[in-house]
Symmetry: C2
Subunit: 131 residues, 2 copies
Amino acid sequence: MPDHELKNLIEAADRAITAEDFDTLMGFYAEDATLVIQPGHMATGKQQIRKAFTAIADHFNHRVKVSQGDMRVIEAGDTALVIMETIVDAGMPDAADGSDVRRATYVFRRQASGGWLCVIDNSYGTALLDD
Amino acid sequence: MPDHELKNLIEAADRAITAEDFDTLMGFYAEDATLVIQPGHMATGKQQIRKAFTAIADHFNHRVKVSQGDMRVIEAGDTALVIMETIVDAGMPDAADGSDVRRATYVFRRQASGGWLCVIDNSYGTALLDD
């Protein structure tokens, strides 16, 4: 089975995060998207989301690298829920290998043009319940 | 803070599951909704979803009880991602207390009328990656 088209899209978005190419990155989000910055803290709309990514990059001294593992996609009409292993390497010395493996949940909406945009970006997945 | 309106909706849907009131239950789903029956097995559309709930009730000898714990809601425009503890008690003797606590992920879409409908019902949450 070929990779789901959303896999390529998420990989491209994560390359943009790693490269701090926020112009490209914002192209993956819907205008009214919500990003979970950390449990209890959200950014809504492209302006707030861009500001959050800029702050995250500064906070981690521009060493954030994001990559992906296994994924599952559940589609329903023009909506898709993606469950995905996300490896966040922020160069933190306190993690055993400096990286943090999360089970992220993303919601995408298909546009009339056929492409997908991210409407909810929650890299913490169900671990939000630990907060 | 008052309970999120989706909490009352999900509780009402779970009462309908427990009561095997599938007419009421189907009113909570969008026409094109997808239900994860079990990892790797999905039902799409109200007809398939109703059939799945009927089969689940039969399989567990009409002893399925569903209730809810803690929840988080992430909204973006007319879309909401709900992360919720769901307690499924199917009267199975092999579970320590006969029940199974899951961290579910639900996607809801707000209708033009203002109400919400469930578009993706994945009671397995990120545990789908274990499969």
